[in-house]
Amino acid sequence: METSFLSGLALWLRGEIYGVTGIPVLSDLALDVIGIALLLGIISMAAIVFTYAERKVCAFMQVRLGPNRVGGRFGLLQPVADMLKLMSKEDIMPEGADKVLWALSPALLFVPAALVYAFFPFDAGAVLADVNVGVFLLFAISGQAVLPFLMGGYASNNKYSMVGGFRVVSQMISYEAPLLFSLLGILMLTGSMRLEDIVEAQAGGLWFVFLQPLAFVIFLISAVAETNRTPFDLVEGESEIIAGPFTEYSGMRWALFFLAEYANLLTAAILATTFFLGGYLGPDFLPGFAWFFLKAVLMVFLIMWFRWTFPRTRVDQILSFGWKAMLPLSILNVFLTGVVMCALGLV
């Protein structure tokens, strides 16, 4: 494995800690803790940066200026103020709520959203949990995100929340299938489920977005649907069902939903980067992780662009589109990939 800046840093740290403690297990453990802390840092930073970015991008699309008073000319402290405010708001629990489920929901939503970050190769060798069935595990974990929405929607004892909960289940389950099928072609091409192998397979500039353009489009649409963003933001369709499952949540609990939403957004962008855009690969003048984040941020911008341009689809449209268009197309993509691979004698 070639070394990169991040993995080199990790190696050096491991050596230092080993030098101090002298126990190999402890140094591994310490490194894991540092890694987890870093990832959580990235997630919460992502939420802060993306709320700011979203407001600026939105303002840009809507011929406005966006925040520019709080914290200097560019309003850089705006998300900090929002965060602090949400932390100190009153915590209201509705009277008729199912208290345990209600309180668990935001936390449970955040866990899978954060857990999947363990599998991402931010740079060559810089993976927290380097497992050889990475893709499989990743989707197994992120699939759990459906339940907390339903829990929150059910437990709130509010009809809007309930409708939102129903919507989220039908929508996320429908789009899980095309999402996975769209990646099958890539797995066939690389022959590995390890994410780093997938990235390495794209070395030499032949990114999978060029080999699998159809899969990329399907993946992008499904990923937007999975993250519940416009045009598929039926879950919290503001003008229809107020805030969907989150209608009754206030203050920090709601902020956790918010955090999970932006963590999922970054996840979607990172997945697109890893699978289709060559991950951390790029010309040498920038380190690998810089390329990685650059591509991810570009993807995030693209998804935000969708949000501020498209209207919202309707619930029956989104489902029929998922099952009748996305799924057959993604299976066709798998089939075509197989045929081409056979013809080229790659199997």
Partner: protein
């Protein structure tokens, strides 16, 4: 698209939308009876903004009544002023100077564009495209600039008075209007790009909440909601009141009476209104802007029903005079109020997501509905 009745027996439930709901345009409350997401019945509950304007007018003089009309349908105040002023003029036999008539038509048509822009913007916003709304509001500001120039207000103008208009149509207002007219085709093209040409937007409104011409006529509906069903009834043409008889314009009609047609009719009416304004600017004569109206206005005994084409349909003022300075009874036929009867028909068999587009395509203004 109406689905067949579900084979399994399911329980219906009641969803209460409003009076505070982001897409009910103010304080409309709608009780939706739902089967899953499908609407079985929609019952509008009105009155959350009932301010008793009709009663208040009975204790005001005719001149004092006029500002209340501003606050009826608060995004087409000019048209309301126009309607009330016409009613009182008919009652008191006041002849309005020609220049004032033209200025009135210019203002009423500008306000129609303004109101339709808000209608389109809120439709876009309710469908989730908030950028569309922001664009509509951006273009609306240029109309408000003109109003600001002629009367100094942005919303409740009180500009069209009994007997004429309160201030002259200045050269600056004229140049602003001309600049705005040049913008009209540009922003219409922009909406075509952003909304009309958008596949998702199209699919959300084509074929949704359809209504036949007969149904609309039975429900007494008027205005763009009626014209979308294919009935070319426009009081500006039919009655030819004020100077509309001398102007050349078309009545855009729809075909299926669905949300798409209502949206298209509004877009086309913007273009037609721009045409009317252009003609009025060309024909605008010199002269007085105010007729000789007695300081104390005492119309003769009698009653009058005078109607005009408001932005939402037939806006009628029924005034009974007992010969004193105050009207004995004023009744306002509010188009939004009558059009609200169509809501149940429009929502039936649709999904929750369609109900919001039905609200915004019917385009009620609660100040007018509740009066």
């Amino acid at each position: 698209m109406k689905a067949a009745a579900p084979a399994k027996r399911t329980e219906t439930y009641l969803l209460n939308m409003g009076p505070q709901h982001p897409s009910t345009h103010g304080v409309l409350q709608v009780k939706l009876t739902l089967d899953g997401e499908r609407i079985l019945k929609a019952e509008p509950v009105l009155g959350y903004l009932h301010r008793g304007i009709e009663k208040l007018m009975e204790s005001r003089t005719y001149v004092q009544c006029l500002p209340y009309t501003d606050r009826l349908d608060y995004i087409s105040s000019m048209n309301n002023n126009f309607g009330f002023a016409m009613a009182v003029e008919e009652l008191a036999n006041i002849e309005v100077p020609r220049r004032a008539e033209f200025i009135r038509v210019i203002m009423a048509e500008l306000n129609r564009i303004n109101s339709h822009l808000i209608g389109i913007g809120t439709l876009a916003n309710d469908l989730g495209a908030s950028t569309g709304m922001l664009y509509c509001f951006r273009d609306r500001e240029y109309i408000l600039d003109i109003f600001n120039e002629v009367c100094g207000a942005r919303q409740t103008f009180h500009y069209i008075r009994i007997g004429g208009v309160s201030g002259d149509f200045t050269d600056k207002a004229r140049s602003l209007t001309e600049a705005f007219l040049e913008r009209v085709p540009k922003f219409l093209a922009e909406y075509d790009q952003l909304l009309t040409g958008n596949e998702i937007f199209t699919r959300r409104i084509v074929g949704i909440s359809p209504m036949t011409a007969q149904e609309a006529l039975d429900l007494n509906m008027t205005g763009p909601n009626l014209r979308a069903t294919g009935v070319a009834r426009d009081l500006r043409k039919l009655d030819g009141y004020s100077v509309y008889g001398e102007l050349d314009f078309a009545i855009p009609v729809g075909e299926h009476g669905d949300n798409w047609d209502r949206y298209q009719v509004k877009l086309k009416e913007i273009a037609e209104s721009a045409k009317i304004i252009r003609q009025c600017l060309d024909k605008l004569p010199e002269g007085d802007i105010m007729a000789k109206v007695p300081k104390v206005l005492k119309p003769p005994k009698g009653e009058v029903y005078s109607r005009s084409e408001g932005t939402r349909g037939e806006l009628g003022f029924y005034i009974v005079s007992d010969g004193t300075t105050k009207p004995y009874r004023v009744h306002i036929r509010r188009p939004s109020f009558v059009n609200m009867q169509g809501l149940d028909l429009m929502c039936r068999g649709m999904l929750i997501g369609d109900s919001v587009s039905a609200y915004s395509s019917i385009d009620p203004i609660m100040g007018e509905v509740d009066c």
